[in-house]
């Protein structure tokens, strides 16, 4: 594949950003639910 360094970086970065955001949402929501359940 020509320009593989740019193409792979772009695809991996997109996956990391969107996957990371999905994970962040899950962790934050879980923590909020736990705190609300304790109260």
């Amino acid at each position: 594949m020509r320009y593989a360094e740019y193409v792979v970086t772009g695809w991996v970065l997109t996956g990391a950003v969107l996957g990371g955001y999905r994970l962040w949402l899950t962790v934050r929501a879980r923590r909020a639910r736990e705190v609300l359940a304790r109260r």
Binding site: Y6, G10, W11, L36
Partner: protein
């Protein structure tokens, strides 16, 4: 509390995952390399859907902001959706800029150019970053929602400027491949299919993440309300400052 019923959310999550998987296969292996740009063009299958989704996300923010500002339709749900959609719009705009930069380096020879499309997109990114900052300013929930809604409507003015910048000015950035001034798509076959697959996968992902972000937004609001109640209760439970009449001064006995 959730934007979509739970079973719908689960099905949507799996459908999104399958669509994204198919996009990876088609975008990196099945679609042929471009005759001029070779494999660098494979970044288009992410760059263009990300840009379209940024438009969609900011449109939803503008629409729900207008619905909040209009008294007849005013409801907290619109404020939550506006904030959630703007956050997703910022992520997609950021991705558009970074992917465009990665694509521009091998094709244009530069990471960045002071080009109308690039500059207006960067302005869009910072406008909505400011909008998100504005939403974080503490204060009365209704006042915060109203000022955020006004800011969202003002920021949305930049969206058509970004879109038409390639037609209005001479730019290094190419005109739209699908929605160009002649309304004649300059892409076909497997490449067009992969591009539309990208748009579909990103749209599904947007709806799924919007639903999740909305849920978190509602939970955070509940948490803030509970924390405020606790803080007030603790404050009331404390001994009040005692006024020392003889000395004419207020003494804090806590």
């Amino acid at each position: 509390m959730t934007l979509l019923p739970r079973p719908v959310n689960i099905v949507l999550g799996w459908t999104t995952l399958v669509a994204l998987g198919a996009l990876v296969v088609f975008g990196l292996w099945v679609a042929p390399p471009d005759a001029v740009q070779s494999d660098a063009q494979r970044l288009m299958y992410l760059h263009v859907p990300a840009a379209w989704l940024a438009y969609l996300a900011f449109f939803v923010t503008a629409l729900t902001s207008a619905l909040y500002l209009w008294r007849r339709t005013r409801a907290t749900v619109w404020d939550h959706v506006a904030g959630a959609s703007a956050e997703l719009g910022v992520i997609f705009t950021g991705l558009t800029l970074v992917l465009g930069s990665l694509w521009g380096r091998p094709i244009w020879g530069v990471w960045w150019a002071w080009d109308a499309r690039l500059v207006t997109t960067a302005v869009l990114f910072f406008l909505y970053l400011g909008y998100l900052a504005l939403r974080r300013i503490p204060g009365d929930a209704d006042a915060r929602a109203k000022r955020s809604a006004i800011a969202a409507l003002i920021a949305f003015v930049d969206v058509p400027i970004v879109h038409f910048s390639v037609s209005w000015w001479r730019t290094l950035h190419q005109e739209g491949t699908v929605f160009n001034s002649e309304l004649s798509p300059e892409i076909g076959g497997t490449m067009a299919f992969t591009l539309w697959l990208g748009v579909l996968a990103f749209t599904l992902l947007y709806v799924y993440l919007l639903s999740k972000r909305y849920e978190l937004s509602v939970l955070q609001e509940e948490l803030e309300a509970v924390e405020l109640e606790v803080a007030i209760a603790e404050r009331i439970g404390e001994p009040a400052p005692r006024i020392d009449a003889a000395a004419g001064a207020v003494r804090d006995t806590r």
